[in-house]
Symmetry: C2
Subunit: 405 residues, 2 copies
């Protein structure tokens, strides 16, 4: 655990002081077992806010509107539906996103501009606004509603993903909590994933935004499920200052702790998404070190973690390191073959660019666990990065062959 940061048992997005959440069944998510599909996250007091958003050129109007509402660095609530993505529906999409924020604002007694909106699910279908309007009226936000909201944002994810961490600052306890949803289409630069993080720290919007960007680059943007990215990806963070620990300013001990805590929350949630990928049963962790630059290390780690051949090899517990090397070779990272070292877990499989005899059955046994780690040292510089992915299974194919039909 990074310096003084502790994980809160059963923590969630309402663990930080002054946050409430709730969810209901509006009737949008007919294909999932858990029918909760509409939720609200609220900060009782105005909060500073920051977000990072999909880089897909075809953005959901929900994302467009949220970017507008968050531009002033302030927000107090998020309304979110799962089941329908509100993407590729023409002008109506923006109108519906606006109507959703207006309705939620009225329900909560806020201004629409202080409400953010997220949607995830099927593309090309209009939001059923009467169901949504009726649903919003039914949502009751409570102090421990984070668990409900964590369920309500899921689409095809098998399970909710939640965490909260805390650290002491100026005699007070600062808490950060987060929830996320992922499943299919998760890929660097944030596929159909939503992540909501809350904190009772007091922190300026610009500093918060910079830290969130950094944390996302090392977590959500380093994971891949299937190489696809979506129209709706959003990571939001709200900071309401309710902890009473005083303002966190750049360069302070508080900033240091907060940055670490935010990074920890993001990495935890990103790994949970990868582990929970469609049809996935194993987490793949790829660390590339010794790259010429950080960017090259990231490219190499992501390329390997996202390779279909690596993913199927992991699925079959097959120590087929040739596929790892082939993926490395097509990434943006400079490589010198004679300098490459490759490890599966802690076992060296290749050194100085040449395979080393290994006991195959031992490696197969190591690879049979729920987490498979590859480490590659390029021995060319200081660039180091870790990426996460999951095995590619028959279930992924079966599942994704019959989604809308």
């Amino acid at each position: 655990m990074a310096g003084g940061i502790r994980v809160i048992n059963g923590g969630t997005v309402t663990s930080a002081k002054g946050f409430e959440a709730g969810a209901t069944f509006a009737g949008l998510k007919t294909y999932a077992e858990d029918k909760l599909d509409l939720g609200i996250l609220l900060s009782r007091e105005p909060a500073t806010a920051a977000g990072v958003f999909t880089t897909n050129r075809l953005k959901s109007p929900s994302v467009v509107l949220t970017e507008e509402h968050i531009a002033d660095g302030k927000a107090q609530a998020v309304v979110v539906d799962s089941g329908i993505a509100n993407a590729c529906v023409g002008e109506q999409g923006y109108k519906d996103a606006k109507a959703m924020t207006a309705k939620a604002a009225k329900h909560l007694g806020l201004k629409p501009e202080d409400v953010l909106v997220c949607s995830t699910g099927i593309i090309g279908v209009e939001l059923p606004m009467s169901l949504i309007n009726a649903g919003i009226d039914h949502i009751k936000v409570t102090d421990d509603g984070g668990h409900l909201l964590a369920r309500a944002i899921l689409t095809t994810d098998p399970k909710p993903k939640e965490i909260a961490v805390a650290f002491d600052l100026n005699g007070a306890t600062v808490t950060l909590g987060g929830i996320t949803k992922g499943a299919g289409m998760i890929h660097p630069n944030m596929a159909t994933m939503l992540c909501f993080i809350t904190t009772d720290a007091e922190i300026q919007a610009d500093l918060l935004k910079g830290m969130l960007k950094e944390a996302a680059d090392e977590s959500f943007n380093m994971m891949t499920i299937d190489g696809d990215t979506s129209t709706n990806d959003t990571v939001l963070v709200l900071a309401n200052g309710a902890a009473g620990a005083g303002p966190i300013s750049e360069g302070s001990e508080g900033a240091d702790l907060f940055r670490k805590a935010l990074g920890q929350v993001c990495v935890y949630l990103a790994k949970e998404i990868a582990r929970d990928g469609e049809g996935a049963s194993k987490l793949i962790e790829v660390t590339v070190e010794g790259a010429k630059t950080l960017q090259q290390a990231r490219s190499a780690a992501r390329t390997i973690a996202g390779s279909s051949l690596v993913k199927t090899a992991v699925h079959g517990n097959d120590p087929n390191w040739g596929r790892v090397v082939a993926a490395l070779g097509r990434s943006d990272a400079e490589v010198v073959e004679e300098k490459i070292a490759l490890y599966i877990a802690s076992v060296c499989i290749m050194e100085d660019g040449r395979p080393i005899a290994f006991h195959k059955d031992s490696i197969i046994a190591i690879m049979s666990g729920p987490e498979v780690a590859f480490r590659i040292n390029l021995n060319l510089g200081d660039g180091r990065a870790t990426a996460w992915g999951c095995n590619l299974s028959e279930e992924y194919v079966t599942f994704n062959s019959a989604y809308t039909t």
Copy 2:
């Protein structure tokens, strides 16, 4: 059929005059049903030669040596093994590649520098040179040995891929023949694929090289099986002038016909590779038109054809056009949502960026065939490109989960 170009029934890489081929079982390819795994392609007379090669940074030394031997624009033979890729084996790889060309040269009565060498198969295993040396001695090249060679270069491909075309020029018949192997790891910029093309046209090496590059960019570099690229990809063309049609010079009618014929051979073979992808049962063809530039059209077509979610949707005959649009949005192509039109086969599914009601069962029926075509018009410019891929099936996963083990 492009102007005056006809397909030769049962054509192959030895259909052009003056080419011979042969193959044998050397004992390298223990995992395939067809045990032919070592072959030779020979031009009876010296030929001009050109090649395009993998862009993977970790290249097989067989590729490195072939690039050296072809640098003078001349070659007379190719020796090729399937089963072992001769990649990631340290210095020995280059020595073995040299020894293979020397051995084949001796067997054929040529200089080693006029022999090119290709390897495909498992990475990280040294070539068993005594098996290869013995095997080369057993190879008898013949006029119709192309069919044998087409089998001998396969690794996991279900079936040989061969074609020959011909056209008339100056009272003579010019023939082009080609064979290829692909299967897994096929991706733009030429994954584990080998392609050998021969022609009895007389053409200068530089012109030949330029035309090959163009043809490869519109065929092999526009197809994707699983997004991975390999250490060994090679496309070679040998032109020996035996047709007696006189030299083909840039700008002439002959150059026009030859360019078309070469393009036709490459596109045919590329599509056959996609159709024959590991676990594949359907060819996906994605045409993007109206892009701002050719490069943007290519990026969009390739991104869509390579999307795991599109590939699984095709597998399940699922008209999930939202996935096509999401893939489009993350490609390098500029898009204006309100201008996008999308067709499955000839049925318009989206116009002006908005979904159009369609009869789902009809589209499902259309998608149930062996070829599924998507056409996207971005309505922004003249850029147009076609890419090919295949469905992602449970069989792909099963197959690739147990390759080396």
